[in-house]
């Protein structure tokens, strides 16, 4: 039965759509707004770190009467910067945005397995985001005990932890619905001929990511319920007996433990960081294969590595808890699993590097960001190793070293990969080309500034400067020699912000009057380029459902099918 879609009213076509492409764009646009907001929070924090206690320009009056960021305000911004970037920015863009839009088309499907569920998961995310944002305007303010919400502080705090927890319930629900959809879609809706080992690597990373989200989030949901009960119903799930707050013992039944929160939180939060990186690796793999004009090196190893990585990510979580007194046996356990998990990461990164060898490299904007990802993720990963070693972690835990490490992985790591993806798939989504010159300026400026913001953090961390300090360490003797980096990092952050204008401008200008893009603008092999128009057809994607005849990266095929193109699309058989 052919589907004839009658003219849909505006609200059905663009607001409450079940089309994965519309939903993907909804996620992407919402996420980018949140990323910008989270970035601005960081700029204000960084201004204060460079010039503690001084009036913040432009937005000062919004922060306090005197115009500067208060210590409480700093804590509040710190907690929300982390929360917003991770849960409202990166994951919704990488998974909700890119995953939703690209995955079904790459596997030759007309949509996700459960389109209505897909719509529900976006709107659940939206509600969660609104709650998180709303907390800025409430009298008690936002959550302020870190994105990690450690008990007992998070329980006795009189700030916005409660609304944070309710917001998380909506975000977790959104994630769960989405991951069920992604897994079922990949398993069931691959088109004819698309066997598992012919899947684009991007699909594999989204598939493994979905499993991480599916199985790791529920314990955090349980923990959120416990913490809500502790805050609202006076329970003591995370409160021990005899806890002093100030000079008085807290009047609760006691018998709980803060460590239970930490275990349940990190059981999610560690797999969460792989949720942050895996889609990025998938995007980089696609862009690299396309712009080297050769197949990925070690595709099979990469697939096995990403599966192994996903599995291992569930048994390393307490390397975030080395300093909680777990005893040397358990510390050795987590240290060992953490060292083991670095192996698949290295395999994937190495395979991506080796994929460049002998390639005919095209240095367009998506490729520049993908290339930039490689050493940046390398630095991020390498700096994680001392943190995974329990003894070194004693010195580095809760210092700026940690902040440097994870930002390298997420910021010039994942976010660069996401930029690569935006520049790469923009022509497919809009049918228009982005401006290359603006893109290159965006890249060079961002690359330099990213390193400027985050590399001094290793220096400060090694000197022992603690994280989450309102004044960046000015009151500590051991921080004095490295304080000068604060101003340098802040200037780099401002520079980084300024260079994003090139990107934002490029988006709007290209949308308005960019050159028309062809349906296979990058001469790519994967189905979304080779078999669907730009943009793909509403609801069905393809004019004719493609069948697949070979692997996803048949590049450097010489004059196949009598043409002089150097690639064979996945939905055409290789001849001669």
């Amino acid at each position: 039965m052919t589907e004839h879609h009658p003219h849909e009213p505006f609200w059905r076509k663009y607001i409450f759509s079940v089309d994965h492409k519309v939903i993907g764009l909804q996620y992407a646009i919402t996420a980018m707004v949140f990323l910008l907001f989270g970035f601005c929070l960081m700029l204000i924090m960084r201004w204060n770190l460079a010039y503690p206690g001084e009036i913040v320009p432009i937005v000062g009056k919004l922060l306090s009467e005197e115009g500067m960021l208060t210590p409480d305000g700093y804590n509040s911004f710190g907690a929300m910067h982390g929360t917003i970037m991770v849960f409202l920015g990166v994951v919704p863009l990488a998974v909700g945005g890119f995953g939703n839009y690209v995955l079904p088309i790459q596997i030759g499907a007309p949509d996700m397995a459960f389109p209505k569920l897909n719509m529900a998961s976006y709107w659940s995310f939206f509600v969660g985001g609104v709650l998180m944002l709303a907390s800025f305007f409430m009298p008690q303010g936002t959550a302020s005990s870190g994105w990690t919400m450690y008990a007992p502080l998070s329980i006795i705090a009189e700030t916005g932890e409660t609304i944070w927890l309710f917001g998380m319930v909506f975000l977790i629900t959104s994630s769960l619905l989405g991951s069920v959809n992604f897994i079922a879609t990949v398993i069931q809706l691959r088109t004819k001929g698309l066997t598992w080992m012919r899947l684009p690597f991007f699909v594999w990373t989204q598939f493994v990511t979905a499993f991480l989200l599916l199985l790791a989030f529920p314990p955090l949901e349980a923990a959120a319920v416990f913490q809500l009960m502790d805050r609202l119903a006076g329970t003591s799930f995370f409160l021990p007996s005899g806890l002093y707050v100030g000079t008085e013992v807290l009047n609760v039944a006691g018998g709980g433990t803060p460590l239970l929160w930490q275990h349940l939180f990190w059981f999610l939060a560690h797999p969460e960081v792989y949720v942050l990186i895996l889609p990025a690796m998938g995007i980089v793999a696609e862009v690299l294969a396309n712009n080297t004009r050769k197949p990925l090196w070690g595709y099979r190893s990469m697939v096995y590595s990403v599966i192994f990585l996903g599995f291992m990510s569930f048994v390393v979580w307490a390397h975030h808890m080395f300093l909680t007194g777990m005893g040397t046996t358990m510390a050795a356990f987590f240290q060992t699993t953490t060292m083991i998990i670095s192996i698949p990461s290295v395999i994937i990164l190495s395979a991506l590097f080796i994929s460049l060898w002998g390639g005919s490299i095209r240095f367009n904007t998506p490729m520049l960001f993908a290339l930039g990802f490689l050493p940046m993720f390398g630095i991020g990963g390498l700096t994680g190793l001392p943190l995974g070693l329990a003894s070194a972690d004693i010195h580095l835990h809760d210092t700026y070293y940690v902040i440097g490490h994870f930002h390298y992985v997420v910021a010039p790591g994942t976010i660069f990969a996401l930029f690569a993806g935006i520049y790469y798939w923009f022509p497919k989504v809009t049918g228009k080309k982005m401006n290359e010159r603006l893109g290159k300026i965006h890249f060079i400026g961002s690359f330099i500034c990213m390193n400027g913001v985050f590399s001094p953090m290793f220096i400060q961390g090694l000197a022992g400067v603690s994280r989450r300090l309102y004044d960046g360490g000015t009151t500590y003797l051991h921080a004095q020699p490295v304080l000068q980096w604060n101003e340098f990092m802040t200037m780099s952050a401002i520079g980084l912000g300024l260079f994003q204008f090139f990107f934002i401008a490029n988006l709007f200008i290209s949308l308005a009057k960019g050159d028309k893009a062809s349906s296979n603008e990058w001469d790519a092999t994967t189905l979304e380029w080779a078999a669907a128009p730009s943009p793909p057809l509403p609801h069905v994607n393809f004019e004719k459902v493609p069948n697949v005849y070979h692997g996803p990266y048949e590049y450097s095929t010489n004059g196949d099918n009598g043409s002089n193109r150097d690639f064979t699309p996945q939905h055409e058989a290789v001849k001669g």
Binding site: I187, F211, L215, A216, P219, P240, S241, G242, V249, N251, G254, T257, L259, L260, H263, F267, F311, F314, V315, A318, M321, T324, M326, G327, T329, M330, F333
Partner: protein, 110 residues
């Protein structure tokens, strides 16, 4: 009709399983009245609950005749659940029974 006959056989199977579940429920309660140590009590209770749960899963949920893929999902889930519990217990289990609050403080509480 063949299909109806098969379904009728299934239904009589459901009734048998129901009978087993009812009996096992009684057994659960009866066994709990025995005076055994907490370790043994937990073991017995969990074994019986697992048998009951398996009956519901295998026959009412048709898991016994399900496809391999579903078994794979459940196996993976079980592995992660076990690691959540046992590894966590490993890190804080040695604190079990240790009195955190000293007498002098606790005597002043509520």
């Amino acid at each position: 009709m063949d299909a109806t006959q098969d379904i009728k056989k299934e239904i009589s199977g459901y009734m048998k399983i129901f009978g087993a579940l009812a009996v096992l429920t009684i057994v659960t309660v009866a066994v709990s009245l025995l005076k055994v140590g907490i370790g043994l009590a937990v073991f017995i209770a969990m074994v019986i609950a697992t048998v009951k749960g398996s009956l519901v899963a295998s026959f009412f949920m048709h898991l016994a005749h399900e496809k391999k893929l579903i078994y794979l999902f459940l196996l993976i889930t079980l592995v992660f659940l076990m690691s959540l519990f046992f590894i966590t217990f490993g890190t804080i289990g040695d604190q079990v029974g240790v009195k955190i609050v000293s007498e002098s403080i606790s005597s002043g509480v509520h």
